[in-house]
């Protein structure tokens, strides 16, 4: 994999008048690019549409690593809300905690958070895999459409609320299930998938996982709906 040339000047990205000591230092080497951010700036490493490796020494603010297609990014710190939003492919690994809306509308690739995540992780997720080493907040997998989530710790209330499809695996305690989220039995394929993903990212399995899918009882699965629509049209 060839390192690509990237250039950042993060100073004042979030706020031109800010006195926050925002700096970015980029260095390139055989392992790819290493960037240092020291003020949790917003919208860093967004829209990278190439295969490359980027290591970020520090923490990111909102919208980090969004709209990317291909890169492997490691953040050796924490990230704010909406990390890897609309990510299409590649790998993003967060070594510490992440805020809410982690992997919102994720389309592909692996998004790994070794710490805890906030509320509504994978809201409207359309593909890919979100792996959380710690706990997750309320409404995890809200309106999940496709893809998988692996939560090794506990999850808050309303798990998988209004999910259309996809699968959520939980290793810890569950406060409550959301509307139309039901428990399903783990298959050998599930076991193999979980073991492989956790092994790749060096995350210790917490114990037996439980699997949750869509119950398909909401109005959008109603067989009458297309007929009614025909009448209207």
């Amino acid at each position: 994999m060839e390192p690509v040339k990237i250039s950042y000047d993060a100073r004042g990205l979030a706020e031109p008048d800010a006195q926050a000591p925002g700096t970015a230092t980029i260095s390139h080497g055989p392992g790819g690019a290493t960037a240092v951010f020291d003020a949790a700036e917003l919208s860093i490493a967004v829209g990278i549409l190439a295969r490359c490796r980027i290591t970020i020494n520090g923490s990111l603010g909102y919208f980090g690593c969004g709209l990317i297609d291909g890169p492997e990014i490691q953040v050796k710190g924490r990230v704010g809300w909406s990390v890897a939003e609309n990510m299409m492919s590649g790998v993003v690994v967060i070594d510490k905690n992440a805020g809410s809306l982690t992997g919102a509308a994720l389309r592909g690739g692996d998004l790994v958070v070794r710490g805890d995540v906030g509320a509504r992780s994978g809201i409207d997720q359309k593909g890919g895999t979100i792996i959380v080493g710690g706990n997750a907040g309320t409404m995890t997998g809200f309106m999940l459409q496709r893809g998988r989530q692996i939560i090794c710790g506990n999850v808050g209330g309303g798990l998988g609320d209004s999910m259309y499809d996809g699968t959520i695996y939980v290793g810890g305690k569950i406060t409550s299930l959301g509307v139309d989220c039901v428990e399903a039995g783990l298959t050998p394929d599930d076991d193999e998938f979980l073991a492989r993903k956790l092994r790749i990212y060096g995350i210790e399995p917490p114990g037996p996982f439980r699997k949750f899918v869509c119950g398909r009882k909401l109005w959008n699965y109603d067989n009458l709906e297309p007929a009614e629509r025909k009448l209207v049209l």
Binding site: A14, A18, Q19, A20, D38, S59, D116, G118, T138, G156
Partner: protein
């Protein structure tokens, strides 16, 4: 959107004026309409009152300056009449001033009497709480009110993007919990049962300075504490009583607290150490004070936390 921030020094006073300015200024993108500070300086026997006489964006007609001067004198006259002994009266702006005084009576009649002066609004009243709020960004407000040298133990602040009420000082946060001494709130979110709680609290004799739903939280909490509840218990009750999406911060004379609604719909990032607790809508605000790599986390839904100075 709005941005909120709080800081409390656990081992002694700090430069809370400049710290809160940096925190709020780093979140200017969350709300450019107005900025506000609730700062707790060293407590004294004196009361300190912050008052506004007009809004800075009012039309300055021919009689503006003379009228404000007359109203300021009337406030001073009324303080004396109700039994308060004025120590120092200092005008930061022609439309806003700070006054310290000795007083041993009830605060409500005093505040009501002062606010009976045309255009007059008591922004804060207490032994150490000072609320400074005005239009524009935090840096501008801090320079206008000379907050750089303000030292104290804890503070909260707010940058506002006006969505539900006017861009004026009355709509700016923080809100003092009229008429209770040394309690203030900043809030990010919307309360959907605002009118119900406003009617309930008005029936108890409270009045509200604004049409902003956030003001309810301050008065609600202060009333609960006046009824005998601890700050933490009052905040936990608020999670059931207040409907909507909210994250709010509250300060009293010796504590800073945070509460998140059951949907955790509004952000808050928290940093905690033995010396300092700092929390804000975005981590960039905390980094503006602590310019180094730190460990932070997002409090979860229905979480209530209180720290004492």
């Amino acid at each position: 959107m709005c941005g909120i921030a709080g800081i409390i020094h656990r081992t002694g006073p700090g430069d809370i004026g400049s710290e809160m300015t940096r925190m709020l200024q780093s979140m200017k993108h969350r709300g450019p309409d107005s900025s506000g500070f609730a700062l707790f300086g060293p407590p004294t026997d004196l009361f300190v009152m912050r008052v506004k006489l007009a809004d800075p964006n009012e039309v300055r007609d021919v009689g503006w300056a003379e009228r404000l001067e007359r109203h300021r004198n009337e406030v001073e006259h009324r303080l004396a009449k109700i039994g308060a002994m004025v120590d120092v009266l200092h005008g930061d702006q022609d439309y806003a001033f700070r006054v310290t005084f000795r007083y041993s009576g009830d605060l409500k009649p005093l505040a009501d009497y002062i606010e009976d002066v045309p255009g007059c609004e008591v922004l804060s009243l207490g032994h150490s709480l000072e609320i400074i709020k005005d239009l524009s960004d935090a840096q501008s407000v801090a320079e206008r009110y000379h907050l750089a040298g303000f030292t104290g133990t804890h503070a909260i602040g707010h940058v506002r993007m006006a969505t539900e009420s006017d861009v004026d000082i009355s709509g700016a946060h923080p809100y003092w919990a009229y008429p209770f001494s040394d309690i203030a709130v900043v809030h990010n979110g919307q309360l959907t049962n605002y009118h119900m709680w406003r009617r309930r609290l008005e029936r108890k004799g409270h009045r509200f300075q604004s049409e902003c739903d956030s003001e309810i939280i301050a008065v609600y909490l202060a009333q609960k504490m006046d009824d005998g509840l601890s700050l933490e218990t009052a905040m936990k009750q608020s999670l059931d009583d207040l409907d909507g999406v909210f994250t709010y911060l509250v300060v009293t004379a010796d504590a800073l607290g945070m509460a998140k609604d059951e949907m955790a719909a509004k952000p808050l990032v928290l940093y905690e150490s033995p010396e300092l607790v700092a929390l804000a809508s975005e981590e960039i605000a905390i980094r503006a004070v602590l310019g180094r790599e730190i460990d932070t986390y997002d409090p979860y839904e229905r979480e209530v936390l209180v720290w004492n100075r």
